[in-house]
């Protein structure tokens, strides 16, 4: 979206809670110079009288909400937060009503009919906060995360970013890099002044520590990924192994917490479910149509990406058919899958257990044991054995959660940029280790790394970054 759309003095409104889901409470947020006036047009006291006199800042007022014809359609509260002490830095009003999607849309309609308010564009609230100096870029990105985080831990991470943690730790990293850079620059620009020479091995030592710290931060981020978005589980297997059925059964009654992934352009269906409070994000490559020829190849091709990023892979096997063809084929399929070096845990899922005899079942278990992989024997169709599968999933959680106590970056883009910075600094360190100490080349690496850090805090902002960030916001948040 062009940033121009964000630039105006209109008063804007949007639901601040999920607009399409029924919930006990629904909130509409209004921001801009006309916010209070607009709110007072549609809010009346419980006795139907208009609010007169001055409205107190940050106080909840019990009220009824009127539609365009002056008829009360709902009741609740409103609260005024005046500039600059509000999220956007402008006058803000929050209207708290019942969280029924129909009621929320009637509220929006009513607000717009006052002629004082228009619906907000995507990201517009956050943009105004940024514009009014309420947050810097990394903080702004934190808001986007807070909004889109799917787990409590994700929200916590996002909050840290908003509170400036990202900025502070980056400032520290940057300071140290700047000082290391200065040391080589001195070698270059003042080499004729007979100053003492730089001890490159000590210099590299400090930078090695720097890289290690950045890697720790990145690791923390990568490990916290599942906590933010759910552990990613991919279902793979031959056609007709029962993947889709299993997919639906696993989601079961938890389907009410489905994420917003659906409707994206991906050819993969992804849904979320909880096991013991841990969020899993399940991708079903079976969502790809399995009719016609060459389907299998295509399916594998498309699911490869999913498999690579998964924390666990469910290899669904048509147990009766597999036993018929022998253990070798299972082994081949497995090694083919794992040869791609995904690092994800593979769980063998013997499906269609309802069709197996006791003896066959025992044979199947022996096969799994010989392959040294966890096994779940299920019947997706009859919804049996899913408990053991869920347990296996919990056991497959990646270790190393102790690192999670100190993650200081809350965003993939930060992680990538830090990775690039670490790579460039690491490059300089390796050069020194190899005895190549040309200060101008070492400086070039460090300058590149500094530039990466600058892109995180917004010091080296480009249109791309700005546009990208603001288009990622959901409205009304």
């Amino acid at each position: 979206m062009s940033p121009r759309a964000y630039f105006n003095e209109d008063t804007i409104a949007a639901p601040a809670t999920a607009p399409h889901v029924a919930a006990p409470v629904g909130i509409i947020r209004v921001s801009g110079p006309q916010a209070v006036r607009a709110a007072l047009c549609i809010c009346v006291g419980m006795d139907g009288t208009e609010f007169s006199g001055s409205i107190e800042n940050r106080r909840l007022y019990r009220c009824r909400f009127l539609d365009g014809r002056g008829v009360a359609f709902d009741e609740g509260f409103f609260v005024v937060m005046r500039a600059p002490g509000s999220f956007t830095g402008e006058d803000c009003v929050e209207l708290h009503q019942h969280g029924n999607p129909i009621l929320l849309s009637r509220m929006m309609e009513s607000l717009v009919r006052t002629g004082l308010v228009r619906p907000a564009e995507r990201g517009e609230f956050s943009f105004r906060a940024f514009r009014n100096g309420k947050m810097d870029l990394s903080q702004a990105e934190g808001v986007a995360d807070l909004i889109s985080s799917r787990t409590p831990r994700g929200a916590e991470l996002a909050l840290q970013s908003i509170q400036g943690c990202t900025k502070n730790s980056l400032e520290n990293l940057k300071k140290r890099l700047v000082s290391a850079l200065a040391e080589v620059e001195i070698e270059i620009d003042f080499s004729d002044q007979g100053l003492s020479r730089l001890d490159y091995s000590l210099w590299a030592e400090r930078l090695r520590a720097w890289v290690a710290e950045v890697e720790k931060i990145r690791k923390g981020f990568l490990q916290s990924g599942p906590l933010r978005d759910g552990f990613r589980v991919a279902i793979v297997g031959a056609p007709n192994a029962g993947k889709s059925t299993l997919f639906n059964q696993l989601l079961g009654e938890d389907r009410s917490i489905v994420s917003e992934w659906a409707g994206t352009t991906r050819d993969v269906v992804r849904e979320s479910f909880l096991v013991d409070g841990v969020a899993f994000s399940l991708s079903d490559t079976a969502g790809i149509r399995e009719t016609g020829e060459a389907v299998e190849a295509q399916g594998i091709e498309r699911s490869l990406g999913e498999i690579r990023s998964a924390h666990a892979v469910l290899l669904v096997i048509d147990a009766p058919a597999a036993l018929l063809r022998g253990a070798d084929e299972v082994s081949r399929t497995l090694s083919d899958l794992e040869s791609r070096n995904f690092g994800a845990k593979t769980i063998l899922v013997f499906n269609k257990a309802d069709l197996l005899s006791e003896e066959e079942l025992a044979r199947g278990e022996a096969v799994a044991k010989s392959l040294a992989r966890p096994l779940a024997v299920v019947s997706a169709k009859e919804n049996k054995g899913l408990e053991s599968l869920r347990e296996q999933l919990l056991l497959a959680l990646p270790p190393g959660t102790e690192e999670l106590d100190a993650p200081r970056i809350g965003r993939t883009r930060h992680c990538e940029l830090l990775g690039e910075a670490a790579e460039r600094v690491g490059h300089a360190v390796r050069k020194v280790e190899m005895g190549e100490t040309l200060p101008d080349l070492l400086a070039s690496d460090l300058r590149g790394a500094l530039d990466n850090l600058g892109q995180i805090t917004g010091e080296v902002t480009t249109d791309d970054v700005l546009h990208h960030i603001f288009s990622e916001f959901c409205i009304g948040k």
């Binding site: 940033p3 100096g133 270059i188 002044q193 101008d440 070039s444 590149g448 480009t462």
Partner: protein
């Protein structure tokens, strides 16, 4: 009524000469006005051109068609390449020059330049009408009408020299100061700032015991400063000498602290931190037990020696005493005392990138008046100011170099964006893309630009074209000349020090360049690369081949780094490209803090990239300006 000029340049120092020559060579009727015709292109401080970062500037001036490089080659007593071991990007050339020849030859060049009139006068007033410069007035009561005026007053505006208690008016020992021009600028609304610089004592050559000192000779194969002109090898090559101060020197200086005008408060102007006086060094770096002194020959026609590193304003008797504690100077005699000079300058924040004043059309400032120090910094600004004044006269577009194009671009952008509160000197670390802005490729970066504005003559252009062809040919040869494993195995001596161990694959010369420090010539001597064959086919003259080899070697060896920097430049250019209209009202940008508005309104940046470089202006603030501009620029469309 005197003659009428297109352009009048005030001051004939290193900035003024470049400005006047550029303007005249571009076809403008130009006057170069100086208070003393015997001080044209004069080396008031040390007798050298180049050095770290300054070598790059000098080469860029030459690449664009300026005079400094040629004049250096005509007067060089010694060439030395510095930073040879610090990497390809920061190698810088320095030449010791015969200051008499340097000045006399520059005098000859400006006097014989067609379209250029040299006048010994003092400019006493600037004529400005309706915010537009119209001419100058002189101390003889003349008025010279002019379309453009370039002020390159150096250290001469209201200048005062200090040596202990002795205080006298003048911009250089033996020369008077220019006071009227200060007043003229002041009454035009310019705020004058006070800066300080200094120079060391000159010593009598016969009183120095050189046998005690370490001699430093120049490079056996000198690399000339000019890309386009055959170097003159007729001058004798002379050495410099190195010595050091010691504890005795420092004690004498410390004891005389209250006699230094720097510490008594007599001098208020701010001096350069990077070029401190010896008393400054002794107090600020008390832990250092010695400082390096470099003794440089001033001229073959002179018995004076320049004592680099001993700039001072201490009284003469103290200068003599501390000098005589130094090894080799035990019986030294001072021919000219060192002194400090304090002068008026103008914070260059009032200038555009063309060096034209934002508020006075047709008035350009260049050199030390803009708070810089150094001949090369001055020459670079003079050249750009002269070019832009000429282009403006012709109604042609501005000539601006960006930060990724030239050190000159960095210099000017720093000046007009960040302003100056102490004398500004160029450093390589000021420049973001050092690997792209090397000394060896200055002509490749700027030759075409020089040609486009009409400063590169046909002869120069031809030399340049031939050099480009040679570079392309050598690059091809490096990539397509192959060495087989068998050849390496059979000739171990030939490859010793170039290749470690056997090789399994065939290798190109380019591969060898990346793996070893040996260059084309070395490989030619070892019969690995047919250098002679290349030389016989080369188009450019022989003295350029060193540049050709250096350029190709560097570009092959550091390809990865160079590529990265190029990508970075692309990204920055996208951002830089967005122009901010002149007269843009930053107060109209919603959401800008008062501080941001103040800073932006002071600097009045010309692009978003420049705005981002202003200290105290946050990226968020620039983003707001950007957004505002987006809306602003598309308004006509909406109406349509």
């Amino acid at each position: 009524m005197a003659d009428q000029f297109d352009i009048v340049v005030i001051g004939a120092g290193h900035a003024g000469c470049e400005a006047a020559l550029a303007a005249a060579r571009m076809g403008m009727r130009t006057a170069l006005v100086t208070m003393n015709n015997d001080r044209i292109g004069y080396m008031s401080c040390n007798p050298a051109i180049g050095g770290q970062a300054k070598g790059q500037l000098a080469r860029e001036i030459d690449a664009l068609g300026g005079e400094m490089g040629i004049n250096t080659d005509k007067s060089a007593l010694q060439y030395k390449k510095l930073n040879g071991s610090k990497g390809p990007a920061v190698r810088s050339s320095r030449a010791q020059c015969d200051k008499v020849i340097y000045s006399l030859r520059m005098k000859e060049v400006v006097e014989t330049q067609q379209g250029l009139t040299v006048l010994q006068r003092e400019v006493t007033n600037l004529r400005v009408c309706g915010g537009k410069v119209t001419g100058v007035e002189t101390n003889f009561g003349e008025v010279f009408p002019a379309k453009k005026v370039v002020v390159t007053s150096g250290t001469f505006m209201r200048s005062i020299m200090y040596c202990g208690d002795s205080r006298s008016e003048g911009g250089r020992a033996g020369d008077s100061s220019a006071n009227a021009i200060s007043g003229a600028l002041s009454s035009l609304g310019f705020r004058l700032i006070r800066l300080k610089t200094g120079t060391p004592a000159r010593l009598k050559k016969g009183s120095i015991n050189f046998s005690l000192l370490e001699a430093q000779w120049g490079d056996p194969v000198p690399a000339p400063f000019s890309f386009y002109t055959v170097p003159d090898k007729s001058l004798p090559q002379l050495p410099c000498f190195i010595t050091h101060t010691n504890q005795d020197t420092h004690s004498i200086i410390a004891a005389a602290k209250e006699r230094s005008p720097l510490f008594t408060g007599a001098i208020a102007g701010k001096g350069p931190r990077y070029c401190p006086s010896i008393e400054d060094k002794v107090f600020r770096f008390a832990e250092r037990d010695r400082h390096q002194i470099f003794l440089e020959p001033e001229s073959q026609f002179s018995q004076e020696i320049y004592a680099n590193g001993l700039s001072t304003s201490l009284p003469l008797d103290v200068q003599e005493r501390f000098l005589r504690t130094i090894r080799g100077l035990e019986r030294v005699e001072i021919s000219r005392p060192g002194y400090a000079v304090e002068y008026d300058a103008i914070d260059p924040i009032v200038l555009r990138h063309t060096l034209e004043c934002k508020d006075v059309e047709g008035l350009y400032l260049a050199g030390q008046i803009n708070g810089t120090s150094g001949y090369e910094e001055a020459g670079a600004q003079g050249l750009l100011a002269g070019i832009n004044a000429a282009l403006a006269c012709m109604g042609r577009g501005a000539f601006i170099l960006d930060r990724a194009e030239a050190y000159i671009g960095v210099l000017i952008d720093d000046l007009v964006t960040k302003g100056v509160d102490e004398p500004y000197r160029m450093f390589t670390s000021r420049c973001e893309h050092r690997l792209l802005l090397r000394e060896d490729n200055a002509d490749q970066r700027l030759g075409q630009r020089g040609r486009d504005i009409g400063l590169l003559s046909d002869e120069k252009w031809e030399v340049f074209q031939h050099k480009l062809a040679d570079i392309a040919s050598l690059r091809e040869r490096a990539r397509n000349t192959w060495i087989t494993p068998k050849e390496v195995e059979e000739n171990p001596d030939r490859y010793s020090g170039i290749l470690v161990g056997a090789t399994r694959d065939r290798l190109s010369i380019a591969d060898l360049l990346r793996r070893s420090e040996a260059g084309f010539r070395e490989m030619g001597r070892r019969n690995i690369f047919p250098w002679d064959e290349f030389e016989s086919s080369a188009l450019a003259p022989a003295w350029i081949r060193g540049f050709v080899a250096e350029t190709v070697e560097t570009e092959i060896r550091y390809e990865g780094y160079i590529q990265r920097e190029k990508e970075h430049v692309e990204r920055l250019r996208r951002q830089e490209g967005r122009a901010i209209p002149s007269g843009f009202d930053f107060r109209a940008v919603k959401g800008l803090s008062n501080e941001a508005i103040l800073r932006l309104s002071t600097v009045r940046p010309e692009t978003l990239g420049q705005a981002l470089r202003i200290s105290g202006v946050t990226p968020s603030a620039v983003a707001l300006v950007h957004i505002h501009l987006d809306r602003f620029s598309e308004q006509p469309e909406r109406r349509a």
